[in-house]
């Protein structure tokens, strides 16, 4: 090979982007959220995140080495991102064994059974999270009150999330204006001083991550903007129709996992649509479904389910919603 010429079809040069680099950029974008999670939930956040990441990587390694007997690809960073995102969807007091089971559902069931990276139709982290929610409903709905390093781990004091407060309160017939005094203010919610999963609380950290991902050209604006935009429009309509039963749009956007879902989960490459038109429809579907589940469903939070439902439609969208080709002759009539 030393003095033989290499021959290959064009192009003969390649851009700088690589799968591994893209995944690591996502990890970097999640660092602000990790910092805020530790700031609010202390050791619990660290334990949950490291357990999740370790089990995800381990399961992928074991399955590729012993069951599939394919080359090991854990260094491509996708299992690392899944591990972090799964952790960010969990409360900081969830026991280790449950996290391991959730990681198994995420990697082995939702990703490897379909053929590994690039072949799964559903977001693995969300499948893991929903699996844990159904399997361990009590532990997955007890949210530690943020107290920094004083929060503790399995012994953490728990309280309801803002969404749960509103949902329960409305069921009991309390007026919304009264309930809104019990939940954090928008400013508090923006900074993250509230109950919730370790990654979803701090809106400011997530938005920093969003800007970083946009600058580094890892994601485009279409999905996050259409998720948040459609949610804003829908909740505004509901709020205007009945301000006593429906919270304002700002509350809806800052409470719960909308920002985490819109910026990091819905934009997952493998499970999101492949062209801008479809992405906007996908984002709007997620926004509308989330609001429907929140307002009329029995769960206080609906982002995970909304994303998984829209994931099911993605192959259909890819097949039928095509970008307008250059020079496409649009038939008249």
């Amino acid at each position: 090979m030393s003095n033989l010429l290499n021959v290959s079809p064009s192009p003969h040069i390649h851009g700088k982007e690589l799968t591994q680099k893209l995944m690591l950029t996502v990890v970097v974008a999640l660092i602000p959220a990790f910092i805020t999670s530790v700031f609010y939930f202390g050791f619990g956040a660290i334990i949950v995140t490291t357990t999740s990441v370790t089990s995800c990587l381990l399961f992928e390694y074991l399955i590729q080495r012993f069951i599939l007997k394919k080359p090991i690809s854990i260094t491509d960073g996708s299992a690392l991102v899944t591990g972090i995102l799964l952790a960010f969807n969990l409360p900081s007091n969830i026991p280790v064994l449950m996290i391991v089971i959730g990681s198994f559902a995420a990697i082995a069931v939702a990703k490897m059974t379909f053929g590994g990276l690039g072949n799964n139709p559903f977001n693995p982290a969300l499948v893991g999270r929903v699996f844990m929610l159904i399997s361990f409903p009590v532990q997955m709905t007890r949210w530690p009150v943020p107290k920094g390093f004083g929060t503790g781990y399995l012994d953490a004091v728990t309280g309801a999330t803002p969404l749960a407060v509103i949902k329960e309160g409305l069921k009991n017939g309390e007026p919304l204006s009264q309930l809104m005094d019990k939940v954090p203010t928008p400013a508090q919610m923006f900074l993250g001083n509230m109950g919730g999963s370790i990654g979803e609380v701090a809106a400011v950290a997530l938005l920093i991550g969003f800007v970083y991902l946009l600058i580094r050209n890892v994601i485009t604006w279409h999905i996050p903007v259409s998720v948040i935009g459609s949610m804003a429009v829908f909740t505004t309509i509901l709020w205007l129709v009945n301000p006593e039963k429906n919270a304002d749009p700002m509350f809806h956007i800052l409470a719960g996992g909308v920002l985490l879902g819109a910026i990091f989960m819905a934009t997952d490459y493998v499970t999101s649509p492949m062209n801008p038109k479809s992405m906007i429809i996908y984002g709007c579907g997620i926004g509308i479904l989330t609001v429907i589940i929140r307002v009329w469903g029995s769960y206080p939070e609906g982002v995970s389910f909304a994303i998984l439902i829209m994931n099911a439609f993605v192959p259909l969208m890819n097949a039928y919603i095509k970008p307008k080709r250059f020079g496409e002759v649009v038939k008249n009539g």
């Binding site: 010429l5 290959s8 079809p9």
Partner: protein
């Protein structure tokens, strides 16, 4: 039994009965008449659905066999003569005599004989490398070693040899479906008539260049010298475009051509070793005295 259980059993049974009756009538109304012989013939076909017969699946072949007046042009290469004869018996037709065939690669250009002059770095697909350039050697007719034939084979009969870079065909597993023949963009694989004990004799070259360039590119190339043609007593060899070809139907396996070939382009397989030349001269001298 309590009344709830009784009501449940009766109502569900009635429901089941109603559904059965309705479905039965619907099935009768929309029934498509199919010649029952199609099922019979399909049952004796190999069910490989390989497309070797030219039809999309064994059922389509069964339909064609039932509808046809005679079996002209209809052969299941996987099942071969036994299956065709059985089908003929079921349908009351005559099965033509088929010679079993096996896939053979008409190229012997391993790196030992055909030196590499460049390194292909594109997608590992022979159709792609063939349309890009002549390949990693100076022979523009020879095997490209990217494995299209291996991927096309549904019977695990063809594997790329890592050392020679050429596909190795397993005679026992090859059913002659022709998938590899279609897959090779240089048309290097041929279905040749099977001989007893899997013997083969063929010109392992497809190079149509004149002798000089052909030999320069590969040590075992056919240079079109016609020595084999001259020595064959059975008219089995033709020379066209500087390339010799042995017709497997006419060949009697006498192996004279293989001995004559100056470049060892003709390959003989599964033959017993040749007897060494007997020392005749010394004996004759002795007997004279």
């Amino acid at each position: 039994m309590s009344s709830t259980v009784l009501i449940t059993i009766i109502s569900l049974s009635l429901l089941a009965l109603m559904s059965a009756v309705i479905l039965y009538f619907i099935a009768q109304k929309f029934k498509v008449y199919e010649d029952p012989r199609i099922d019979e013939v399909q049952a004796i076909l190999p069910a490989a659905n390989c497309g070797g017969c030219g039809f999309a699946g064994c059922r389509n072949m069964a339909e064609a066999l039932v509808k046809a007046d005679n079996f002209e042009g209809l052969i299941c290469p996987v099942g071969g003569a036994p299956v065709m004869n059985e089908a003929a018996r079921i349908l009351g037709k005559i099965a033509p005599v088929i010679d079993p065939t096996v896939a053979v690669l008409l190229c012997n250009g391993s790196p030992e004989f055909r030196p590499r002059t460049s390194h292909y770095n594109g997608a590992s697909d022979c159709r792609i490398s063939n349309s890009l350039y002549i390949g990693e050697t100076d022979c523009s007719y020879g095997c490209l070693s990217n494995g299209d034939c291996e991927r096309a084979c549904a019977f695990d009969a063809l594997h790329m040899d890592q050392v020679t870079g050429l596909p190795m065909i397993n005679d026992d597993k090859c059913v002659s479906c022709g998938a590899c023949v279609k897959a090779c963009p240089r048309h290097l694989i041929e279905l040749r008539k099977k001989a007893k004990k899997d013997r083969k004799i063929y010109v392992a070259c497809s190079n149509c260049d004149k002798g000089g360039p052909a030999r320069k590119a590969c040590k075992v190339a056919c240079i079109g010298c016609s020595k084999c043609f001259k020595v064959c007593e059975f008219n089995a060899i033709t020379i066209k475009d500087n390339l010799a070809y042995i017709d497997s139907k006419k060949c009697t396996f006498c192996r004279k051509c293989a001995t004559e070939c100056p470049t060892n382009a003709i390959i003989e397989l599964n033959f017993p070793p040749r007897k060494p030349k007997v020392e005749v001269e010394a004996e004759t001298i002795d007997r004279q005295y």
